[in-house]
Amino acid sequence: AQRVTQPEKLLSVFKGAPVELKCNYSYSGSPELFWYVQYSRQRLQLLLRHISRESIKGFTADLNKGETSFHLKKPFAQEEDSAMYYCALKENNDMRFGAGTRLTVKP
């Protein structure tokens, strides 16, 4: 069963525009959710986690238990934000990832 859903495979915005990458999850317990990012020619790496309630590179993500969502947002996208973004759910001992969204920020 799909536990993490990222409905958009591709997302394209212009520089300076707001961006939102959607993530919905399915989990009956208290979820631990993460966003990972893979820039061109780099390793997949952690961007942020919901328990930290932090802002990394201008990105934030709020856990909405009612909507079972963990959307990633940034008010003003930059060209260097272009990358592949994965939403992930920690479930017991394993980490499950969504299909990913490729974000392209155009100049």
Binding site: D94, M95, F97
Partner: protein, 111 residues
């Protein structure tokens, strides 16, 4: 400092041949270890994870197997490769704190 290394980086193998991808972690002990396959349009598919030596959990029934002969070594294997095994394989580890750290990946092409 903690590091993760997997090899080989690229591999071209004929159908029916065996496979061995290796992954080692340094700078930490008793990590959770993972093998993922990254495929276009399908994201990251969890293949195997291990919480300790000799303890392997398989998520997807398939032509692959995994072993953990030592605390910081994780091996992905196949006895006979299929064309459908082609893909990009990622090893990863997790320590306390729930952050996953990924290796650089291995491109496997089965011909």
């Amino acid at each position: 400092s903690q590091t993760i290394h997997q090899w080989p980086a690229t591999l071209v193998q004929p159908v029916g041949s065996p496979l061995s991808l290796e992954c080692t972690v340094e700078g930490t002990s008793n990590p959770n270890l993972y093998w993922y396959r990254q495929a276009a349009g399908r994201g990251l598919q969890l293949l195997f994870y291990s919480v300790g030596i000799g303890q392997i959990s398989s998520e997807v029934p398939q032509n692959l197997s995994a072993s953990r002969p030592q605390d910081r070594q994780f091996i992905l294997s196949s006895k006979k490769l299929l064309l459908s095994d082609s893909g990009f394989y990622l090893c990863a580890y997790e320590t306390s704190g729930n952050t996953i750290y990924f290796g650089e990946g291995s491109w496997l092409t089965v011909v």
